[in-house]
């Protein structure tokens, strides 16, 4: 299933809408509005027509980053004690804060996945540039997306070479040293590769700017998408702040 609504919008419109919605979401303070935001974000992800399984898989990665924070927060924020475990006190305020952060981050990430998940990195980079993002940041983003695959490949080849010489993972100094060497060599090669790529780019008259050739996006949806996002964002904040 192809995303009917979003793919008709230009990347710039989608980026702007994403920005508005995520900013509205992070500004929310109460659980009802945060819950509504997550439900809405999930609906948005469903409408986007992307396969659900990889989406949830990516979301799980984000959860992995946050798990420590979410576990620590209820115990570290002072307030009305709910449970006391020896010296540890679980506070109601801390719990609410942790749940709020979990709801908001997941909502924000789902919005990004839903609206930007199917935009090609190159077009996204140019859209960001069009919205006034710094050139260097955009270039960094574009190079990163270009080379992530390359380095994944590099690491895969090297691990195969290690296996071909009967390397097996163990809890041993030899294993740690081998992985250390692997990481070091990938970095060295990355640096060399970067230098070679830069030389090759300079040979083709690269002057620090990436020209945007063949990307004529036009202005389709530049009003409708962000406009709708503005209305939804305002409604969420109103739900949150109005008595």
């Amino acid at each position: 299933m192809k995303a009917p609504g979003f793919d008709r919008m230009t990347p710039r419109a989608r980026l702007l809408a994403t920005l508005i919605l995520t900013l509205a979401v992070v500004a929310l303070r109460g659980l009802p509005a945060q819950g509504a935001a997550l439900a809405g974000a999930f609906a948005l992800a469903l409408i986007s027509g992307q396969a659900l399984r990889p989406l949830l898989h990516r979301l799980a990665h984000v959860e992995g980053f946050m798990v420590l924070l979410l576990v620590m927060l209820p115990f570290s924020v002072p307030g009305t004690p709910l449970v006391t475990l020896g010296p540890l006190v679980l506070s109601a305020e801390g719990l609410a804060r942790a749940i709020g952060i979990a709801l908001k981050t997941n909502a924000a990430i789902l919005i990004v996945f839903a609206l930007l998940g199917t935009v090609e990195p190159l077009r996204l980079g140019h859209a960001a540039r069009g919205l006034g993002a710094p050139v260097r940041l955009v270039q960094l983003f574009l190079f990163t997306t270009r080379y992530v695959e390359l380095f994944r490949d590099e690491i895969r080849r090297r691990r195969e070479a290690m296996r071909a010489r009967a390397f097996a993972r163990r809890t041993s100094l030899h294993t740690f040293r081998a992985y250390g060497n692997l990481a070091g060599m990938v970095l060295v090669r990355a640096l060399e590769k970067a230098a070679r790529v830069e030389e090759a780019m300079r040979c083709r008259a690269f002057d620090g700017r990436l020209p945007a050739i063949g990307i004529e996006e036009g202005e389709r949806g530049i009003l409708a998408g962000p406009g709708l996002a503005l209305v939804v964002g305002a409604a969420l904040i109103a739900l949150d702040r109005l008595p």
Binding site: A164, H174, A178
Partner: protein, 240 residues
Amino acid sequence: MTPLFTVEGLVVSRGGHRVLDGASLTLRPGERLAVVGPNGAGKTTLLRSLIGLEKAEHGTITAFGSLRRTEKEFRPVRARAGYLFQDADDQLFCPTVIDDVAFGPLNLGLAPREAAERALAVLERLHLGHLSARITHRLSGGEKRLVALAGVLAMEPEALLLDEPTNALDDVHYRRLLDILSGLPMAMIVVSHDRPFLHRLSTRVLALRQGRLLPAAFHSHPHTHDHLHIHVEGDHAHRH
């Protein structure tokens, strides 16, 4: 004699395309088998399959007397069949030459000192002893290839799988590689486009066509052609 490798009806796909489609071969001790075929014919895939880096869809691989299917079953194969990668840069990953050559022996369970001794002995045997303390990624292309080979030989394999070993070698390193390989007793499978090299080295040829291995033979016929080489000014001149 029991064959080292017996492959029957091997089918391997890459990117939805059957690269190997019923390939069969037998490698017996002492044999030096050449495998030829155009780019993309599946030569590298064949070598990778033999040590379990590619997964077979159909067919069987018997190595050193046992059927091999799982990663676990292939692990001991990699200790006994040394694989020389097409790009030596993929193979060398330790900071120094001696570390890299000792990596295999360490994986085989040798103590660090024994491993270092064995590594040094192999380097000496290949006349590479002077490189032992050098940084691997600063070696020349030819040195890298020979050091990578030393890393494989240090594991004392019973068979060698060589993927385009002469690629991009200069004359000096080319001849040294040929001398080293010709002097080795173990069985080999050599994948290459380099016909003269294969002719000098191999005892039997297989050609990879449409995913299958067909018996082939060298055939030479007289040619009249120019002999192109480069003389450096001041070097002794010679006649043709």
